[in-house]
Symmetry: C2
Subunit: 398 residues, 2 copies
């Protein structure tokens, strides 16, 4: 941005003002347990931080230290090849929470990227806020990714929707942050058909080995807790696996009043577990959505005749979720300029940002303004001659 000086302006002249973005400083990135590549060592946060000009200290997830070491070595080799300072990237490995805490507490670290559990993310937020100089934390944490099935869509293809839903639910044993853990629809025979179809598909679904014993244990506990809540019916379980850490799918059904009264039913259970809520009418369904916490995604299955009903819910969903999608499933996150992989708390710690897509670089930047600086001292992107040919807004006009 360039606002040229206006020396003749009355009553006061305007100085020459130029603005660019610079990196926040060294970033601590925490690898996810469930994405050893895309959300880990050379994942989105590392790429965004490096693109922003920030060195990265990467804390590998103890679930896949070997992968982290291999990828880390490749990055270090690339850093060397490119002639960058060795400190541009560092890999830390360790099992303890103390290591991560010490990293976030270190006064040289200026921002944090994290993908993991709500408890882990909130703990890092607390540490970052308690520093003498608080720093931004981008923690992607917890989302049940509500799916709304509208009446006409359900009437047209309840059975197919049930089967497709289970495909999304059980993919990768449900270990995606965008896994559809909550389905809302109006009660009636079409929803019954959906539940029957989904139950049949899930009952035939083979279990998969989950990523770590810890994730498996938490999943088992979560499913047991959901099944034991008053008013919750088990619609179906997946096939029982042989061997250890087999994630057995789980589908629950509740009515709207039960769901509204029990916050535990809208907490994420990481794995192939989902809750179907039968709502008596659209107004109740809207209220249930209004009561949800922040989400990464919200999904609508709708036909043309459902548009008016959907229009009424959109203002609620926009306030709740980072991405709203129609007639698809939330698993699968495209890396693209318009993508938002983020959302209000507790989906993430900072709903103003995305961890996927080109806008992710912005999370590690801050603006600096240069006023009347001699051209020789201006950064290249702001020099009058624009030697880099950067697209610049002059007086606010591109």
């Amino acid at each position: 941005r360039v606002d040229p000086a206006l020396p003749e302006r009355k009553p006061l002249p305007r100085a020459d003002l130029r603005q660019r973005f610079i990196g926040l400083g060294p970033v601590a990135v925490f690898g996810a347990s469930n994405f050893p590549l895309a959300f880990s060592t050379a994942g989105g946060d590392t790429a965004a931080a490096l693109a922003a000009g920030c060195p990265v200290v990467f804390k590998g997830h103890p679930a896949h230290p070997g992968t982290a070491a291999l990828v880390g070595a490749a990055i270090s080799k690339a850093v060397e090849k490119a002639g960058l300072p060795a400190g541009v990237f560092a890999l830390l490995t360790g099992q303890t929470h103390e290591l991560g805490g010490a990293l976030v507490s270190d006064s040289r670290i200026k921002a944090v990227g994290f993908t993991g559990s709500r408890a882990g993310g909130v703990a890092l937020m607390k540490i970052a806020n308690a520093r003498p100089e608080p720093i931004p934390v981008y923690a992607e944490m917890s989302s049940v990714n509500p799916v709304v099935l509208f009446p006409h869509a359900l009437a047209a293809r309840a059975e197919a929707l049930g089967a497709a839903f289970v495909g999304s639910l059980t993919m990768g044993s449900g270990q995606f942050c965008t896994n559809p853990g909550l389905v809302l629809a109006l009660e009636g025979p079409d929803l019954d058909t959906f539940i029957a179809s989904a139950s049949a598909a899930l009952a035939a679904a083979h279990p998969q080995v989950m990523l770590t014993p810890g994730i498996f244990g938490a999943y088992e506990q979560g499913v047991e807790k959901l099944g034991s809540r008053p008013g919750v019916t088990v619609a179906a379980r997946g096939l029982v696996g042989e061997g250890c850490n087999q994630g057995q799918g789980a589908l629950f059904v509740v009515d709207a009043a039960t769901f509204a009264a029990d916050p535990a039913l809208s907490h994420e259970v990481f794995g192939s577990s989902s809750v179907v809520v039968r709502a008596p009418d659209l107004a109740t369904l809207a209220k249930l959505l209004e009561g949800l916490e922040g989400q990464l995604t919200a999904t609508l299955h709708l036909d043309a005749e459902d548009a008016e009903a959907a229009r009424g819910l959109l203002p609620i969903l926009e306030r709740k979720a980072g991405r709203i999608l129609a007639n698809g499933w939330p698993t699968g996150v495209e890396v693209a300029p318009a993508m938002v992989h983020g959302g209000p708390f507790p989906a993430t710690s900072d709903g103003r940002s995305t961890s996927v897509g080109t806008r992710a670089v912005e999370r590690f930047l801050r603006p600096v303004c240069y006023q009347d600086l001699p051209d020789v001292l201006l950064p290249a992107a702001l020099k009058e001659a624009n030697p880099w040919g950067v697209k610049r807004a002059v007086d606010g006009v591109l």
Copy 2:
């Protein structure tokens, strides 16, 4: 941003992705004591929040309740005239910290704008972070706005710089967040000339009534504390005023070692008080800058021959300050697209943002992505026909 669907893409098709920004939700804005207009009821944060589509609950500063009431009534009238819902703007007045705390704690509030003291801003940050749903706080708090006088500039015009400096220092009794509270230069006869000139100007400076008894009391305490620190010399005091709350200017001089060893010397004293630091060499001066906390501004007085010396300091100053200016004074903040009125903690609570200039609207926005949404349900700005004629990036290209 629009990324059209790529149905033929291999191995997987791409969905249609569209992104826009929406408001975070209702914003609590706290009026500043020192700016009853520009940083208060109808000030920058209120304007930015309304522009972002966020309702504003404004907490008036108890120092000027009448002004807040007058301006608030004008806004309410404008809201009515424009046919907006009455809840778009509300004014709260009160003396207690409890009122502000209750406002920031309220689950319906989604962001906070504040201009005031470091203690006040940090208290609001704590309340916001302790909420079940933490929210962003934009608090502008504390800055001493370092001024570096380079050798050639000082040799050329030490006397004129001294007089001009005191003009900036005493303007409005120094009650600006960008007041130059710290001057750094290399020791020697030119700096002595600057100090003598500034001292003479300050000794002849008439005091002004400060804004509130509280501000005056804190100023008196701050000046007394500065003057009593070991190694600090009082170079000059302004004229003594008659009547109450007269802010008497104060200029102190210290050497680099004393300054480096005593953090109290770099804390803001709100009013016409400033500290001149004599550095033995440029390397020491750079170290002193490196040791400073975050600042709103950093000012350089330099001639062409000083450019190389300044170039070495710029990477430090960029990391410390939101605005870097040359051969001027930091007081006076232009409202322009390239302005940054912000900076790293404790200048503000969030160095990624500015409270002045067109970019201020971004602090109250978050992105939402729409995937495969039927055109009829897309917001106007994202519809295929682009009925509003919005400038859009398609596949990342504007």
